[in-house]
């Protein structure tokens, strides 16, 4: 029979909350390097829907396809350390919006980049992490290289647990040095070579509020300095600085009878380009059996347009852009992840559909003809060396 619950009984609550402070019940909070090495591979396919003739000059066109392969290795070393290596390869091809013009009927329509853009990206990241009784600290170095873009980044992060193990404080700082040399050919570019620096800081706190629930809250700040204009967009001129703030919160609650956990996450973004956004994520993690987990999820996103966004870019202004990613819109994405453990292996598959529309947003603005819907599929394999 299932244990009956009466969490409102004050005596039981007092006994339970006092018991849970003991170390035997805090295995989840104990910071220790992973016990076993693990390796994982993931393949994902990202496919944007074609743009229709109604939205583009010159008839419908294919948009981007991206294939991503990722490899991950994590191993404990010495007594208190772990090392992780992550490698990712991306192969992109297709066409993207070049600029927006006015059709004979007065509607804005996209002119696509025409010739297919091909690019590949390789990213390698190495993270070393040190574990101590009450927390851990990690240092990671990342190098990313593609035909036209190079990025070098360094990040430091740390987490510290309170004495009772109920609260975790975390923080991170990172710096990235990026350089772009646009590929000449498919479209004329608006620079031949440029660079930017990205500085970012993050702080967060996670608290166990009951034996079945966790809340977290985080704040981050990112400062971008350098060439922020999209070199492949015909009508694009953006400020050389961007200051971004993000406030986020999350709630996890475990439901014993359903063997499930509800994850609700919210994120608010604001920057000095007048872009604001709200993101709400809801996921239901259902342990169908000890080996099989299903996770349906849904996400809502809504964005306020940048102050210099116009479908027909205002080129007499200092800054202008017709990039749909800076327009006002709302988006839903939804999907399912499934995973199965077989001895030391774990196989996972996931599929996600993303759809967007100006009218779904809470902020009004001109609807960009460049808005894109996409599908994403993935399959992953993980192995634990034990």
């Amino acid at each position: 029979m299932a244990a009956q619950k009466n969490d409102r009984n004050p005596a039981l609550m007092a006994l339970t909350s006092s018991a849970l402070l003991l170390p035997a019940y805090q295995s989840v909070q104990a910071d220790a390097p992973p016990e076993f090495a693990e390796a994982g591979m993931q393949y994902s396919k990202y496919k944007e829907d074609d743009i229709t003739g109604k939205k583009a000059f010159g008839g419908g066109s294919e948009r981007f396809d991206i294939d991503v392969a990722q490899f991950h290795l994590l191993a404990p070393v010495l007594d208190d350390w772990s090392v992780a290596v992550d490698v990712a390869w991306e192969d992109m091809s297709g066409a993207s919006p070049w600029f927006v013009g006015e059709s004979a009927s007065g509607d804005p329509k996209v002119i696509m980049s025409g010739a297919s853009i091909e690019d590949t990206r390789t990213e390698v990241s190495v993270t070393t992490r040190y574990y101590f009784d009450r927390g851990n600290g990690g240092l990671s170095l990342t190098y990313s290289d593609e035909d036209d873009y190079e990025s070098k980044a360094v990040a430091f992060d740390g987490a510290f647990n309170s004495a009772d193990g109920m609260t975790t404080y975390s923080g991170a700082i990172s710096y990235s040095d990026d350089h772009i040399d646009p590929t000449q050919g498919a479209v004329p570019t608006n620079t031949t070579s440029a660079s930017k620096d990205i500085y970012s800081a993050w702080a967060g706190v996670t608290r166990i509020v009951s034996k079945r629930a966790i809340v977290r809250f985080g704040l981050s700040y990112t400062y971008r300095d350098g060439f922020l204009t999209d070199p492949y967009k015909f009508r694009d001129s953006r400020p050389d600085e961007r200051k971004e703030w993000v406030a986020s919160g999350g709630y996890r609650r475990y439901f014993e009878e359903q063997n499930s956990a509800l994850h609700v996450d919210y994120r608010y973004f604001n920057d000095d380009w007048d872009v604001q956004s709200h993101t709400l994520d809801v996921a239901w993690v259902w342990d169908y059996s000890p080996a099989v987990t299903y996770t349906p999820f849904i996400r809502y996103y809504t964005q306020h347009e940048a102050e210099f966004f116009n479908n027909l870019a205002q080129r007499d202004q200092r800054y202008f852009a017709d990039d749909y990613r800076l327009s006002a819109f709302g988006a839903f994405s939804y999907g399912l992840r499934a995973s199965r453990k077989i001895q030391n292996w774990e196989v996972s598959v996931d599929a996600e559909r993303y759809q967007t529309d100006e009218s779904w947003g809470v902020f009004s603005g001109e609807e960009s003809p460049g808005l894109v819907d996409f599908w994403r599929y993935g399959i992953g394999l993980n192995y634990i060396f034990k």
């Binding site: 009956q4 009466n6 039981l12 006994l15």
Partner: protein, 303 residues
């Protein structure tokens, strides 16, 4: 999936792990870690071992020496304080000293003067402790973690098994049970609860899917004089056997909480003990002096 059993002796009684595992080699590592955990707690808290922390605390009684404690011990002291408060002072880790007056093998009742001489040494409120250390103010005072350490060890051993990759395990430390995951086939681990007066027959069978089950009873040590039963559960304020329920079993998320809930049920007069158990809202079974069974464990379809 294979069934693996491991039996050993710990904390003065039989101990047993029942597991279902994919990989027997992995289970060996897990069992070694879990047995080591039980032995660690025994070495640290047993009052029978001279170099245990408990013995050091007791030897320093009355000397003003503060014995330093670690976070785990401070946690147990904090927990003991909570149970003492919630039980209205009945659950008291200093009451063990009353054993000096009560010898249940002798068949002899102690004189009131013997009890009165010991009672001043009993009282959780006399213990001085904080996160750093503990001291007993009076010579001959005794601290005995026996009232909670075996249950805590069952939980901690189950956590060790789980941490080492065993997903289905039942830890049984002489009747204090902690389950880390239910067996693959079936809703949980079937456990027979012994009838208080019939050594080998079960009063009920319960299914434990996870969490803990603990039992407390006065059938282990008692004596009968002139037709009156004197059980070994002593009221810390009077020094006399409680004369309440004769057996209580409770299921809770932790064996530790189940054990305290059952012990407090035993420490109260029978009718108040039943009220306490009913009020907690946990699954429970109690047997009174007339061998009547009470509690929702029976109603829930156990037999």
């Amino acid at each position: 999936m294979q069934r693996v059993d491991h039996s050993f002796k710990a904390m003065g009684g039989p101990a047993r792990f029942r597991m279902e595992v994919d990989d027997v080699g992995l289970a060996d590592v897990a069992v070694t870690a879990a047995v080591a955990e039980v032995e660690r707690l025994e070495r640290k808290y047993s009052r029978y071992l001279d170099d245990s922390l408990t013995s050091r605390i007791n030897r320093a009684a009355g000397t003003d020496e503060v014995i330093p404690v670690d976070a785990e011990t401070a946690g147990l002291l904090h927990y003991a304080t909570t149970v003492w408060r919630e039980s209205g002072g009945l659950f008291d880790l200093t009451s063990g000293v009353l054993r000096r007056a009560w010898d249940f093998r002798s068949g002899r009742l102690p004189g009131q003067s013997e009890i009165d001489a010991i009672l001043p040494l009993v009282g959780w409120d006399k213990v001085r402790w904080d996160e750093q250390g503990v001291s007993l103010p009076l010579k001959d005072m005794e601290l005995d973690f026996g009232g909670c350490v075996k249950e805590y060890a069952a939980d901690s051993a189950a956590a060790q098994l789980q941490r080492h990759g065993v997903q289905c395990a039942l830890v049984d430390l002489a009747g204090d049970m902690a389950a880390a995951g239910a067996p693959l086939h079936g809703p949980g681990w079937p456990i027979g609860i012994r009838h208080p007066r019939a050594r080998d027959s079960a009063a009920a069978t319960v299914i434990l899917p996870k969490g803990g089950l603990a039992s407390s009873g006065d059938y282990e040590r008692c004596m009968e004089i002139d037709g009156v039963r004197y059980g070994h559960i002593l009221n810390p304020t009077t020094g006399w056997p409680v004369g309440g329920l004769v057996a209580v079993s409770v299921l809770a998320d932790q064996c530790l909480v189940a054990g305290s809930a059952a012990t407090v049920g035993m420490l109260k007069p029978a009718s108040q003990g039943l009220e306490w158990l009913e009020g907690l809202g946990l699954p429970w079974l109690a047997i009174d002096m007339d061998l009547q069974c009470h509690g929702n464990l029976l109603e829930a379809g156990s037999h």
